[in-house]
């Protein structure tokens, strides 16, 4: 068990970054709370690394301010912020052993030799690298190098830990192990984590909140369940996974429910405050297949286009009479027998599972 670290709160106020005439980040405002696990998620080139570089102090923002526990830190150089950083590709010191790598930040802080020795060996045990302390990074596997990078960033108990796609080079098993380790480290140390990943599932599994970026803009910042189930726009909805989008006509709101028509069917959904949100969105896994019109909930008539067997689940591609495509994801065990392309079916879902977009 590691002692709880004084975690910091960092803030960005209207931060922008230009490279020449190219806008890499525009008008980013967010607050990362003490002990939070914030994930930056977005397609390649959306500005995630740029924001991390600005938070760490290796790049200066072209506009806006940064705060650390409420105080301005825009002009504070990286070596004074001294946030822990795990770079993509690990950036270990190739000429130092694992122990020397991990001891480096403690030597910078001029800790007594005995304390350095104790803390280095404690953290080596914690990340499961006991017995590898005398090796050079080049003698370690990818996952082991990753853990050295994490240990080196954690050992001096920085108030903030910044991680740029730290698992990108790992296989699925190792990735799972490392995710588990990260979760445990976060729980045990209480440090503020800012994590960059390309992997939606990883983001949903690890984070307290997720910030979604597109083309240098912050699209949504919310808890995993909220960004997945109540995305604020179509980009976020589609980026986090497959989604069915049904344009509604004659949409009307009446108290706590809204209703409209899609093809021949009247559909019901929770109302939205956003003007212009006239599409009903449902994730494929919330739709169920019926052979007759279900008694309750929303349903749309369609024909099976094709089935994809995925083991525990089966993916169904449907086409409605109006020619719209729908995707369903169902447990294979719940599938009615004797389905084949062309079969007439109903795609139904509970009214609370859809939302307006």
């Amino acid at each position: 068990m590691v002692a709880k670290i004084r975690a910091a709160e960092i803030g960005a106020v209207n931060v922008g970054k230009m490279f020449g005439t190219f806008t890499a980040l525009s008008d980013i405002s967010l607050t990362i709370g003490r002990g939070e696990f914030l994930t930056l998620l977005g397609p390649s080139g959306s500005g995630k690394t740029t924001l991390l570089m600005i938070l760490s102090g290796f790049e200066a923002p072209t506009s806006g301010r940064l705060t650390l526990d409420g105080r301005d830190m825009t002009a504070t150089p990286a070596e004074e912020r001294a946030f822990g950083m795990v770079f993509q590709g690990y950036a270990l010191f190739p000429h130092m052993s694992v122990e020397e790598n991990i001891a480096f930040p403690l030597k910078v802080q001029k800790r007594p030799a005995a304390e350095i020795k104790r803390r280095v060996s404690a953290i080596i045990e914690m990340v499961g690298l006991g017995g590898h302390g005398h090796k050079r990074p080049s003698g370690l596997s990818g996952g082991q190098q990753q853990r050295v990078a994490l240990a080196r960033a954690l050992v001096y108990e920085p108030p903030v830990l910044l991680l740029d796609e730290p698992f990108s080079a790992l296989d699925k098993n190792l990735r799972g192990q490392m995710q588990e380790e990260m979760r445990r480290l976060h729980r045990e140390t209480g440090t503020t984590f800012v994590f960059v990943t390309h992997d939606q599932t990883e983001a949903l599994a690890l984070s307290t909140r997720i910030a979604i970026f597109e083309k240098g803009r912050l699209q949504q910042l919310a808890a995993p369940r909220e960004v997945y189930e109540r995305p604020t726009n179509r980009f976020v909805a589609e980026f986090l996974g497959e989604i069915n989008i049904l344009p509604l006509s004659g949409l009307q709101t009446c108290g706590a429910v809204a209703g409209g028509r899609f093809e021949e069917q009247a559909l019901v959904v929770a109302p939205s405050e956003r003007p212009g949100a006239t599409n009903l969105a449902v994730r494929p896994e919330y739709m169920r297949l019926h052979l007759a019109r279900p008694d309750s909930g929303n349903a749309v008539a369609a024909r099976i286009d094709h089935l994809t067997y995925l083991g525990a689940e089966t993916r169904l591609a449907l086409r409605t009479s109006g020619g719209a495509n729908l995707t369903l994801l169902m447990p294979t065990a719940e599938l009615p027998p004797a389905l084949e392309p062309g079969t007439a079916v109903w795609a139904g879902w509970s009214e609370s599972r859809g939302f307006l977009l």
């Binding site: 912020r81 950036a91 010191f93 910078v108």
Partner: protein, 273 residues
């Protein structure tokens, strides 16, 4: 055609050329060293027993070591400016590296003579400023030889250093800075050790080059700081001691070979550890 044979066809002429111009003459020199004037290892015994030869070997080693340290250290600073400096610094460094290549060894040695001699510019200034009353002996001694050779060899050390500095992962330096390390600590504890292979490579190039220096020591040493290349020249061209000259050459070659092997091992160990 299979790959190995095509490879051989491409590289074959070069191998033949190298064999004709280096290997065959060197084998000839080796034969002289064991046949002239009589068969046997007598010349080697004579060379290693001759105090003059040993003095020259020892002096050569001393001068080359000093030149290596000086040239590599100076080249490190120059390369740092070249690889990591601003556009203006880069341009200046490029000119400083390229221009010396256009000026012959001879011209440069005489240039240093003009600067360093007793009536030269440096002594003139120092005396005019009243710093010195008697001229300082800066040339016609080992100091002058070391200065001239160091100056000549700096550009050769720049290229191995530049390739090491260019291939260095910037993020490793950032990582060190991010942990709060000062610029000096990042430089001495991260940057310099990470360019170790380049430093060793540059040192090897300079040292081996320096061993064969002839013109610069002859001019700036004023006949008093004879180095091994000049000694071989004297033995072969100015006295009939071909066998002894050849034996000294072979000893020099063997020394260079051993040094190369040791350095290769060092570099490889550094990379694999």
């Amino acid at each position: 055609m299979s790959h190995p044979s095509r490879f051989l066809l491409l590289i074959g002429p070069l191998l033949l050329f190298l064999a004709a111009t280096y290997l065959v003459p060197f084998l000839g020199v080796m034969r002289w060293s064991v046949t002239l004037p009589a068969s046997g290892l007598g010349q080697y015994k004579a060379a290693l027993g001759d105090p003059l030869v040993l003095t020259v070997f020892w002096r050569t080693l001393r001068i080359c070591a000093a030149v290596t340290v000086g040239a590599v250290a100076a080249a490190y600073v120059v390369t740092l400016l070249w690889v990591r400096g601003g556009p203006m610094q880069r341009l200046v460094v490029e000119l400083c590296i390229l221009i010396p290549f256009w000026i012959s060894v001879l011209t440069r040695a005489f240039g240093w003579l003009a600067l360093l001699s007793n009536k030269g510019l440096i002594n003139g200034w120092l005396q005019a400023l009243g710093v010195l009353s008697e001229p300082l002996t800066l040339v016609r001694n080992e100091f002058g030889v070391v200065v001239g050779m160091t100056h000549f060899l700096i550009p050769f050390a720049v290229f191995p250093l530049a390739s090491a500095m260019r291939s260095l992962d910037e993020r490793v330096l950032m990582a060190a800075r991010g942990m709060g390390a000062s610029r000096a600590r990042v430089f001495w504890q991260v940057f310099v050790p990470m360019t170790r292979a380049g430093i060793l490579g540059a040192a090897l190039v300079v040292f081996v080059f320096a061993l064969g220096f002839f013109v610069t020591p002859a001019i700036l040493g004023g006949g008093r700081s004879v180095m091994v290349a000049e000694l071989i020249y004297l033995r072969i061209f100015q006295s009939p001691d071909w066998g002894l000259g050849a034996a000294i050459s072979v000893i020099l070659m063997a020394g260079v070979g051993l040094l190369l092997a040791a350095l290769m091992r060092q570099v490889r160990q550094g990379a694999s550890r």
